[in-house]
């Protein structure tokens, strides 16, 4: 059975290649960038009408504009508190010293002094990088988005946790939200809510609400049933059961959900600057534009510090309540005294930040930004000078040997040949239902008129995913087999997951120039951490008994890896490939900024050229369709492989 499948795959690929060669260059559906199809120009016209209607149409007056106003006001309120001068004032309500004092107190009160110390030093480091106000703006934006996300996500999550039917309705949307590349939905949101803090907050919420819903419902669903049954047998009402038993029991998991929601919001900090979010994204994107690697890294470090700060403080709050050993009388007393003292200190620091200028506005003299920028500039300068020969050589090698042939095959073949191939793949790997879905979605791309561009993006995504899997598998096996390797790589993986892709897009541009490969390389760097983590977990989950049996039978290490661990972890590896593909796709489209062309370029061009607006919006949808096609095929493949 398995053998037949791979033969079928091989046969259909051969047919595809032959047909592609034979009919090369015909029916490619390629149109010039400035040209619109009747469909895209229709969408563009509708979008333009929508813009014009903002002041008149009831949908805007009674629905969208009030939402925008309310969220803008909410964000502005938080910003005035810590980040920007309040109205009729020259300083924020709480100056930097006050913020540091309050954070120290709040973190200490909810977890330990160690975490508090870490938080304070990270905050001070952001200040020393010259990023105080940007950091506060980002915190304000994150806080606003997280509070709103939780206000919506937790109730919905509880609902989905209690009712199977609700969960069933939510699931497709939650899945879709995980595939959706962030670049895609920013333009439509900005179209309705306009550029500004409100749009940025809503875009962030779209990304973080699904996570809050997922974890909350998971928390409610996986509770120990006996206390709930006990409550039922004692005649509790539904409401009592929920508020006295289920929610308190799920509390810790929900706090973990808060942590994940916060992290999702933080990961949006940079890209949200494209639609007017105040904060750290601004200097990062400026650095990309004027190509100042040093400045980009200074701001990028601040983003990473902020992410660590928020991660540690929220996850510590979740963990601190796990201890089963009750604290002694003395410990409680000490903690209480320190709490009172630090509370007083916090209040005093807020008071000082209101009355003394040095405590209100971060002193400009206290800065390490120029040094950091110089060091990173020097390092990247050295790399660019000495390594470009290799990087350009590597880029050309991949371009000529993989990228160009694949692009010819995918984009220069007639559309019906490639659609047929995708459907055949879906049929062989996923089955009939997957094949029908793939056919419908692929035809939607064809009809949208953006097939050619979609194939360019697909080519880059596939090549990026292949390289990611080669590196990711190697590192994943290594870290899966050795605790030491995991310890060494862990910080890099964590940093890679929080460092915004925009930060390393700049040095990548230096290394590879404005090419498709720059986008691919950025996608690889972005996707590797998640692939390594999943593969490593998969390798670790292989039962020890299997490995011991193989060792006893005299297998070499290589045999154990290839014959035991990899086959046993096959499903996880398929899932990792799927994640890799989705991650690479999400970043490859950002490559439109650096010469990669394809759908990503159209999305970006649609933002700035009125005549391409419709095309840009449709390009966003096409990216999503591509993502869904491949996610479905891979998921179906992973399901079947068990």
């Amino acid at each position: 059975m398995k053998l037949r499948k791979s033969y079928l795959l091989l046969a259909s690929v051969t047919v595809w290649i032959l047909l592609g060669r034979l009919l090369n260059g015909t029916h490619t559906l390629q149109i010039a960038t400035y040209e619109n199809t009747s469909f895209t120009s229709y969408v563009g016209k509708k979008a333009l009408e929508l813009r014009g209607n903002r002041t008149e149409s009831p949908a805007f007056i009674y629905f969208f504009n009030p939402i925008r106003g309310a969220i803008d006001g909410f964000v502005q309120g938080i910003r005035n508190l810590i980040a920007v001068p309040a109205p009729n004032s020259l300083i924020p309500i709480i100056g930097w010293l006050g913020v540091v004092g309050l954070v120290a107190f709040a973190v200490y009160a909810t977890s330990q002094w160690r975490t508090a110390l870490l938080s304070v030093s990270l905050l001070l480091a952001c200040g020393a990088l010259g990023m105080w106000q940007f950091t506060m703006d980002s915190i304000a934006m994150t806080l606003a988005a997280v509070l709103l996300s939780l206000a919506i996500g937790i109730p919905l999550g509880i609902w989905a946790g209690l009712s199977d039917r609700v969960l069933k309705i939510f699931t497709p949307f939650l899945d879709l939200a995980q595939i959706l590349p962030t670049l895609v939905y920013m333009a439509p949101i900005a179209l309705v809510f306009m550029i500004g803090a409100a749009s940025a907050t809503i875009a962030t919420m779209i990304y973080s609400i699904p996570i809050a819903i997922r974890i909350t419902s998971h928390a409610i669903r996986n509770l120990n049933q006996s206390p709930i049954e006990a409550a039922e047998s004692m005649g509790s009402t539904q409401k009592q059961k929920l508020s006295k038993v289920q929610i308190p029991m799920a509390k810790q998991m929900i706090v973990l959900g808060i942590n994940q929601t916060v992290m999702a919001a933080v990961s949006f900090v940079v890209i949200a600057a494209l639609i007017g979010a105040p904060g750290l994204g601004k200097p990062v994107i400026e650095a990309l534009i004027i190509r100042n690697v040093g400045q980009g890294f200074v701001a990028g470090f601040a983003v990473v510090f902020l992410a660590i700060l928020l991660d540690r403080s929220t996850s510590a709050a979740a963990k601190s309540q796990t201890s089963f050993i009750p604290p002694t009388e003395k410990q409680i007393k000490t903690k209480r005294i320190i709490l009172i003292v630090s509370a007083i200190l916090a209040v005093v620091s807020v008071f000082m930040s209101r009355t003394m200028l040095w405590a209100a506005v971060w002193p400009k003299e206290v800065t390490i930004a120029p040094q950091v920028a110089r060091v990173t500039n020097n390092i990247t300068g050295w790399i660019l000078e000495n390594l470009t020969i290799f990087t350009v050589g590597f880029k050309d090698l991949i371009s000529y040997s993989v990228l160009n042939p694949l692009e010819t095959q995918l984009a220069a073949s007639p559309w019906y040949v490639t659609v047929g191939m995708i459907v055949a793949l879906a049929l062989i790997i996923g089955g009939t239902r997957t094949a029908i879905l793939a056919f419908v979605l692929a035809m939607a791309i064809v009809l949208s008129g953006l097939w050619y561009e979609a194939m360019l993006t697909l080519t880059q995504t596939i090549v990026g995913c292949m390289l990611t899997m080669i590196i990711g598998l190697a590192l994943g096996i290594w870290t899966g087999r050795s605790d030491r390797a995991l310890r060494v790589l862990r910080p890099f993986l964590d940093a890679g997951q929080t460092l915004p892709a925009f930060v390393y897009l700049v040095p990548m541009l230096g290394l590879f120039g404005p090419t498709r490969f720059t986008a691919i390389a950025t996608g690889i760097v972005y996707a590797i951490p998640v692939v390594v983590k999943i593969v490593s977990e998969g390798i670790r989950a292989v039962p020890h008994a299997l490995i011991e049996a193989a060792t006893a039978a005299g297998s070499t290490t290589r045999q154990i890896i290839t014959k035991v661990q990899l086959p046993a972890a096959k499903k996880t590896i398929l899932l990792a490939t799927n994640q890799g593909l989705i991650y690479v796709l999400a970043v490859v489209v950002i490559g439109g900024f650096v010469g990669a062309g394809g759908l990503g370029y159209l999305v970006i061009a649609g933002n700035s050229k009125p005549e391409l607006q419709g095309k840009g919006l449709i390009a966003g949808v096409a990216i999503l369709l591509l993502g869904v096609i491949f996610d479905r095929i891979m998921q179906a493949g992973a399901r079947r492989s068990t």
Binding site: L90, M194, I195, I290, R291, R354, V506, V594, G597
Partner: protein, 321 residues
């Protein structure tokens, strides 16, 4: 109902609330000592676009408004074009000090959301430029008719067998595909995506003596790094404007007087900042000098202040002193 977070967070909440109340009561002496906002100028937002020249103009405008008029100015980074016009309509942006768009704001000005505020004195020249070293070696390359002869030199891994034609950044006015087809060139348009990519391309090509043809413009800071760049501009046949609606007839970029745009709010306010923006005008050389300082590592603020100090008379004419 028991709080999700337990007693501790209740304590935290109380302390933070207390701190807030206290901060509300405490004196606002910092506000008195930190500076003085005066004059009839309100609080406005200037759009900050991506390219160096724009930054120079906008920063000088901001510094003059703050120093001389006492305005409260915020500078918001965002994309040019519709994104900015929308922001002006929404009231989050008041000034675009330099727009190259040739009337793309028409939908917004028609409904009164955006108001044209005259030319800013800069003349925008866009064109296709080769790497300057090539002009010396191949003197006839700047005539567009000879480009096909050299097309093979411009090939890269990404250009599909044709010459690579590096197009301008996304938001900019670009007609590369139309030029290539109208001039029947054997080139493929590569969308380089950002100013940084072009700077990088020109500098590397000049240093390594490799072939390069890319989108460039005046005023632009790259000219201070590559002084011979202007001579490397490829001359294309002039556009036939007898049928401007014909999308495919464009053979070259027209030069454009750059325009200022302001929000309805700023236009209606008619205060000292409105007149500053309307009077603001300077030359390509002015802009290049500030932009060059920026490029040289000065902060935008320093570079702008330096220019203001050296050009007091021009500044005075803007603010009507």
């Amino acid at each position: 109902m028991k709080s999700l977070f337990g007693r501790r967070s209740a304590v935290v909440t109380v302390v933070i609330a207390a701190a807030l109340i206290l901060s509300g009561c405490s004196s606002s002496s910092v506000n008195d000592s930190a500076g003085e906002a005066s004059g009839d100028c309100g609080s406005y937002a200037i759009a900050m676009h991506a390219w160096g020249g724009y930054t120079a103009s906008a920063q000088v405008l901001a510094e003059v408004a703050k120093q001389e008029l006492g305005c409260t100015i915020t500078q918001t980074t965002l994309e040019e074009g519709p994104v900015s016009y929308d922001a002006m309509e929404a009231g989050t942006i008041d000034v675009v000090i330099e727009d190259w768009g040739g009337g793309r704001w028409k939908d917004w000005t028609d409904r009164g959301a955006v108001v044209e505020a005259g030319e800013n004195g800069n003349i925008g020249i866009i064109g296709m430029y080769v790497a300057p070293w090539m002009v010396e070696k191949y003197p006839d390359i700047t005539d567009s008719k000879n480009l096909n002869k050299y097309a093979a030199m411009f090939k890269t891994a990404d250009s599909g067998g044709k010459g690579a034609w590096f197009e301008g950044p996304t938001g900019y006015t670009t007609i590369g595909e139309k030029m290539v087809s109208a001039n029947k060139l054997n080139f493929k348009v590569i969308f380089s995506g950002s100013e940084a990519a072009l700077v990088d391309g020109f500098i590397k090509a000049e240093a390594n003596k490799t072939a390069f043809i890319g989108y460039a413009w005046q005023p632009w800071t790259l000219h201070s790094k590559l002084p011979t760049l202007e001579a490397a501009r490829v001359v294309f046949p002039a556009n036939d404007w007898s049928d401007p609606a014909a999308a495919s007839g464009l053979t070259d970029y027209p030069s454009t007087p750059l325009l200022k745009l302001i929000s309805k709010k700023l236009n209606d306010a008619n205060d000292s900042f409105t007149s500053l923006v309307k009077n603001f005008s300077w030359t390509n050389a002015d802009q290049n000098s500030v932009a060059a300082d920026l490029e040289g590592g000065m902060t935008a603020e320093e570079a702008a202040k330096k220019w203001i100090a050296a050009n007091a008379a021009t500044v005075a004419s803007w603010i009507g002193k």
